[in-house]
């Protein structure tokens, strides 16, 4: 079987794809609230726009383990709930419902209609649902269309019919919509091209002049039959259809969008046509025609027949399109269309999908870059924009007309409310630790055109600081407390110093309180609000109980002092320096009563914890005692067995802090946990059995080098544990996955922390470090990646880092874009003539002016660490050159000085590949790399697609040739070369004398450099054509890489060949070795293969957590960041393999794709266990969990621990 391999990896997604390929609006919860369903890669996500805050929240994200090709929603007549239809690569149509109660998607129907996979004639590319929810049509790119009738049965359950065929061979579909026909028979409109004639016509005439047809397919509900009802020729350049409201709301029909025109068509109406206005401006090409790339129709509430379209062109300009009706004698609109009108609305980034919410928001799912939420200020009704109507334009697409122009302007009708971070397209990424923290950060380049960004990704929770105030001394601890049981907010902040205590009151201002009753001349160990109106201060010499100004003091026994204390609303426990434990409980009259016996512990007590009093009970029944003999003991506090030992746990180091608290567990219920912080910096979480006091299911994580301190805090009404080490961490239950996570806070180190609640800040935390008091809050749980971005100029292509300094260099280039020098020239030419024309609109919103065949390209120096992260320097490339590759190379001939090397191409045409020249530029670093100086450029035969440092020289992949260069005074000097790749070298990796060459289409080739004879000799190559995008050497024999089809793989050279290649003097043998099947003498073997769905753009071997092992981190074009974690033991492999296969059968993918086949989309999956699937275990219902656990012969907790361990040990 393919899965037997001696290398096993565990694949996990750190950041799911952030692209949105389609977004749909609907009432999926069955309430009036509108929600947005998005398809991003293999994930179906439910978003909840919050109109009050102007935010978009994620409710649910579900990996369906399949490629989502199209989604549609529909609502059965009389119902209030929208269902979702999924067209995926499973060859099945799935109907899914959102269950708001359990926050899950549930599948209602799954109907198989064809083979799986994305194929030409298997339906799935297009999906349209009748607006009245009676039928849906699912279509392939070519030939096949299937109609399903949707209905409900007597039990009001949704039913789906067997499919009705509407196939026509030789037909390609460009666009498909459902027509709005009210309650007459459902009709679907398709934009089709027929190729059957072109296939027969040997003269090529039919092929060069294709005809586009608008075809109506009618589903006759009575006869249960689909007919091709009507078809007509439309503009041959047409590419998009939009539904026009029908029934009572409008004339029905479609808008057909083609090159520079929008045409209204319907079977019983005349055609109306308006042109798409062109941009005017000095730098715009007045001849360029625009096309529509996305749009949305919106019906206005209240008035029948009021609707409009917002259509977006390839520049991002939104146009408002409306229809005028013929009016009858009484001035009421009839069903007949009179004219079509178009006018400029606003300009926003190009969207994949637009959704207009009833609350007056526009959600724009951008095709690249951040997604935006806009609010409508007005609908562009009475502004001064020119409106163009169909009266002035011929309906015949062939007829001549004068183009119309408009002038783009900043947003007038829309206001940007929220921008959702999206890393799509993620072009390159590097992992480095530049900030000097424990864990490294991920640096990436993403975005396109002027919306490109350099982003720094850090694992952590975003913290917002409210107060940071300086204190007179350096406190050692801080508490907050309410004054009485009935207070809503905290009244005091108590600070403990080495020999004093300071009490501050919280109010409008924070002031010192002198009359608090607290003893201020001693340090404090604990503060607690006790009973109804009491306050407790525990200090080394005793306990002070303050009730309404009266003070009761309990002194510590002579020659002993209090070393640790734990308190809650009813109980107080202290530990004395002699190792004795004294227990107090509050009486009915509100005074503290000491329990007669003291309990002697074997060692010195280091920490105590009581836990809160559970609701409705008088006391917490357990006390946790940590001693310096590396143990934790659980003592009972029940009246029958007070201070009896219940259980004991040995630890690896002395406990420094304990906390008993109940938290939500993965089943949704509450479980009592004991959190233990150790002196060694390790944090442990164990389950504390509420009856027996047994400690089970220990999970651990190393937080940092200092003793860990733990505090119970509350965030979003959830009890969380704040763990302080060299950085603060927060342990909480993830709101979406319900699993426990420990995430660092993006905040400075803290010495001590406590919960904080005041009128201004309901759920905050107070912390101290050195002589600073800080109050802060955590806004959002669950978002564990913090992004910081820096804008770049053009679409980034590569990212390289300075070898020593924390600076990055990006190369950026945009095809078909006017370079700055030409822009200036054009502006200067027109500048004098037209006043006000010279005003340049910001390219981030309006894009750069376009020009065919032109390239705009630059090199940027990025400083990610300074206060204001920014681009320090930008070097524009001139002469239509565009950068294609970059590397930082230390040259041995220059005493190891590093240079930035950039490969460029001149006059490049991408498809079919053409260029006039290729160059290699050399830049010298100045000012520690903050500044670049151009030295010289060397002409080469082809644009070099890959550059890499190699033994103090430069190794360049130029076409098929691999070449070694040294740095000369006027140009680079050729030192060695060899033709090693079959087509085009796109990636290079090297170790020692070995070079791994990735070819654009033909996989990887292992090459050895022979210094004695100065030769580059290939000795092993691939047996499969891999369209390599990125590679990384895992060890001397193995290379990991990704290809254009979304696979990640690891290849290994045969051991013998690998050794022979490095033997001195083996070149003759290698040169004359017999070629094997027209390739190199040896073949590499496949170790690992895995389909990721996203297109890997970079892969690196690195470690991600403190003390973690090396993992492979890969980035995907759609914004995915994933890791592959190697398994260490065979036992773990067997366990996870078993778990994975159980998960496949117990939690089959939502859309009906077979998980094993999906992960082996192109090549059977080998040596990889899908961690994303395994992690879904925590989301299963309890009975299924039990069942799987039974099969695996383990407990549910044990399985959950293993799943979370493998993640936390190597990744976040």
């Amino acid at each position: 079987m393919a899965t037997t391999s001696n290398m096993f990896l565990y694949s996990l997604t750190l950041q799911p794809p952030t692209t949105i390929s389609q977004a749909l609006l609907g009432q999926f919860s069955g309430t009036k609230e509108q929600q947005i369903i998005t398809a991003s890669g293999s994930r179906l996500t439910l978003l909840q726009p919050d109109p009050r805050q102007g935010k978009v929240n994620t409710l649910l994200s579900h990996d369906i383990f399949g490629i989502i090709r199209s989604i549609a929603s529909f609502r059965l007549a009389g119902s209030h709930k929208d269902y979702i239809i999924l067209a995926t690569d499973s060859g099945r149509i799935a109907i899914v419902e959102y269950l708001p109660k359990t926050n899950r998607f549930s599948r209602i129907h799954l109907e198989t209609f064809g083979k799986s996979g994305v194929r030409r004639v298997i339906p799935g590319q297009y999906l349209a649902a009748d607006p009245k929810g009676r039928a849906c049509l699912i279509s392939a790119v070519e030939k096949n269309k299937l109609v399903y009738v949707l209905n409900r049965n007597a039990q009001a359950e949704l039913t789906i019919s067997s499919p009705l065929e509407a196939h026509k061979p030789g037909v390609l579909v460009l666009s498909l919509v459902a027509l709005d026909v009210g309650y007459s028979n459902p009709v679907f409109a398709a934009l089709e091209i027929d190729y059957s004639e072109a296939d027969q016509d040997t003269s090529g005439k039919a092929g060069s002049e294709p005809e586009a047809q608008l075809v109506y397919y009618e589903l006759d509900l009575g006869l249960n039959h689909v007919v091709r009802k009507w078809s007509d020729t439309v503009d041959p350049t047409s590419s998009f259809l939009f539904q026009v409201p029908g029934g009572n709301d409008g004339p029905s029909g479609v808008l057909v969008c083609g090159e520079e025109n929008v045409t209204y068509r319907h079977s019983n109406q005349e055609a109306f046509r308006v042109p798409i206005p062109r941009r005017s401006g000095a730098t715009e090409d007045p001849q360029r025609k625009r096309v529509i790339v996305s749009g949305v129709m919106h019906k206005l509430k209240g008035s029948a027949g009021a609707f409009f379209f917002l259509l977006q062109t390839d520049d991002g300009d939104l146009f408002k399109v409306t229809l005028d009706m013929v009016e009858d004698n009484e001035g009421n609109p009839t069903g007949e269309v009179q004219r079509l009108k178009i006018k400029y609305f606003d300009t926003i980034p190009i969207a994949q999908s637009l959704c207009i919410l009833k609350s007056g928001f526009l959600f724009a799912a951008s095709e690249f870059g951040n997604h935006h939420l806009y609010q409508f200020e007005k609908l562009g009704d009475d502004d001064e924009e020119l409106e163009f109507t169909s009266d002035e334009f011929p309906t015949d697409p062939e007829a001549a007309y004068t183009p119309v122009y408009f002038r783009p302007r900043p947003l007038e009708n829309l206001v940007l409310v929220e921008s959702m971070d999206s890393m799509n397209p993620l072009v390159d990424c590097k992992v480095a630790n530049l900030t000097g923290e424990d864990a490294p950060q991920i640096y990436s380049v993403s975005g396109n055109r002027a919306r490109s960004t350099f982003r720094m990704l850090k694992h952590g929770l975003e913290v917002s600081e409210i107060v940071a105030s300086e204190l007179p001394g350096t406190p050692s601890a801080v508490w907050t407390t309410k004054l009485t049981k009935y207070d809503d907010y905290d009244g005091y902040i108590v600070l403990s110093f080495t020999n004093a205590t300071l009490v501050l009151s919280i109010g409008e201002t924070v002031e010192e309180v002198t009359e608090s009753g607290f003893l201020t001349s001693v340090p404090t160990l604990a503060v607690q609000q006790l009973g109804e109106e009491g306050l407790i201060q525990v200090h080394p010499k005793g306990i002070r109980h303050i009730v309404q100004g009266r003070v009761n003091e309990w002194p510590a026994p002579q020659h002993r002092s209090i070393v640790a204390a734990a308190t809650n609303e009813n109980q107080v426990v202290i530990a004395l320096s002699s190792g004795e434990i004294v227990y107090f409980e509050m009486d009915a009259d509100g005074s503290l009563a000491e329990y007669d016996e003291k309990k002697e512990m074997s060692g010195t007590v280091t920490s105590l914890s009581l836990g809160r009093v559970p609701e409705g009970l008088r006391r917490s029944s357990f006390l946790a005692v940590g001693c310096d003999d590396c143990t934790v003991r659980i003592l009972s506090l029940d009246p029958e067995s007070t201070l009896e030992m219940k259980s004991i746990q040995a630890l690896t180091s002395a406990p420094s802090s304990l906390s008993i608290m109940s938290m939500e567990d993965s089943t949704g219920g509450m479980t009592l946990f004991l959190h233990i912080g150790l002196h060694s910096g390790v944090y442990l979480r164990t389950v504390l059995d509420e009856v027996t006091g047994e400690l089970t299911d220990t999970r651990q994580k190393f937080l940092g080098p200092k003793p860990t301190k733990l505090f119970q805090v509350s965030v979003q009404n959830q009890s969380c544990v704040l763990a302080l080490n060299s950085r603060p961490w927060l342990g909480y239950t993830d709101p979406l996955t319900k699993s426990f996570v420990m995430t660092p806070l993006s905040y400075s180190e803290l010495e001590y922390g406590w919960n904080f609640s005041s009128e201004q800040c309901l759920e905050g935390m107070v912390g101290i470090y050195a002589n600073f008091l800080r109050i802060f809050t955590i806004e959002k749980l669950g978002e564990t990646m913090i992004q910081k971005s820096i804008p770049l100029t053009y679409t980034p292509k590569r990212l390289v880092k300075h070898p020593e300094q924390p600076y990055f260099y990006t190369i950026e280039s945009d095809n078909n874009t006017l370079p700055p020098e030409l822009r200036q020239q054009l502006l200067a030419q027109s500048g004098g003539a037209v006043n006000g024309d010279s005003e340049v609109l910001p390219p981030e919103d309006f894009g750069y002016p376009r020009a065919k065949g032109r390239w705009a390209s630059c090199i940027s120096v990025v400083d990610p660490l300074s206060e204001e992260p920014s681009v320090l320097q930008r070097i524009d490339l001139e002469g239509n050159e565009a950068a294609v590759s970059a590397a930082v190379v230390p040259f041995a001939s220059q005493e190891g000085e590093s240079f930035l090397i950039v490969g460029t191409g001149k006059d490049m045409v991408l498809s079919p590949r053409k260029f006039s020249e290729g160059y290699i530029h050399v830049y010298r670093f100045h000012d520690d790399g903050r500044d670049l100086e151009f030295i010289h450029k060397t002409k080469v035969e082809e644009p070099p697609m890959a550059l890499v440092p190699f033994q103090g020289r430069l190794l360049a992949g130029i076409g098929k040739t691999l070449r070694v260069y040294d740095l000369g005074l006027r140009q680079l000097l050729r030192k060695a070369q060899g033709e090693v790749a079959p087509q085009l070298i796109v990636s290079l990796q090297t170790q020692g004398n070995r070079i791994v060459v990735g070819d654009v289409q033909q996989g990887v080739t292992y090459v050895v450099y022979k210094p004695e004879s100065n030769k580059l000799i290939p000795f092993a190559d691939d047996n499969v054509n891999r369209w390599t995008t990125c590679t990384a050497m895992v060890d001397y024999e193995s290379v990991a890489g990704g290809d254009k089809f979304g696979n990640v793989w690891i290849l290994r050279a045969p051991e013998r060949a690998s050794q022979e290649s490095d033997e001195p003097g083996s070149e003759i043998q290698l040169l004359h070795a017999r070629n094997y099947l027209h390739g190199a003498p040896n073949r590499v073997s496949l170790m690992v293969h895995f389909y990721t769905q996203d297109l890997p753009t970079s892969i690196v071997k690195t470690n991600l957590v403190v003390g973690g092992q090396d993992v492979l981190v890969w980035s995907g074009l759609q914004g995915t960041v994933g890791v592959l974690i190697p398994f260490v033991s065979r036992e773990d492999v067997d366990f996870f393999q078993n778990l994975e296969s159980h998960m496949r059968s117990e939690d089959p993918p939502l859309a009906g794709r077979d998980h094993l086949i999906y992960r082996g989309y192109y090549t059977p999956v080998k040596g990889v266990i899908d961690g994303d699937l395994c992690e879904r275990f925590t989301l299963l219902p309890n009975d299924k969990k039990q069942m799987i656990a039974g099969e695996l012969d383990r407990s549910v907790r044990e399985i959950e621990r293993k799943i979370s361990d493998i993640r936390t040990r190597s990744a976040f």
Binding site: V121, L172, N816, L1117
Partner: protein, 95 residues
């Protein structure tokens, strides 16, 4: 003989159902056209691949998708002249 007929029928059924199923007389042009059509439809159907091309070409994804489907019309040029036509053409050239 019956087997052969059944095979023939089966093949015809497959050819009707799955566009591009070959037969013994598949010409090079037919094969090429079919492969290219498969490729273009696959690019249009895989969102990451489509984004990749759109990003490189610096065009909107939606536009590239339509371009890919349009290219399916005649990806390998017009069909070669049929045998009898070729014969006629050759004779005309000769005369």
């Amino acid at each position: 003989m019956a087997d052969k007929l059944r095979n023939q029928q089966e093949l015809e059924r497959l050819q009707a159902k799955y566009v591009g199923t070959g037969h013994p007389d598949t010409t090079s042009w037919e094969w090429k056209t079919n492969i290219h059509r498969d490729t273009y439809s696959s690019i249009a159907g895989h969102p990451p691949l489509l984004s990749y091309i759109a990003l490189a070409e610096n065009e909107p994804v939606a536009k590239v998708r339509v371009q890919m489907i349009r290219k399916m019309l005649q990806p390998a040029g017009p069909p070669p002249p049929r045998d009898e036509e070729a014969f006629v053409l050759a004779r005309q050239d000769g005369s």
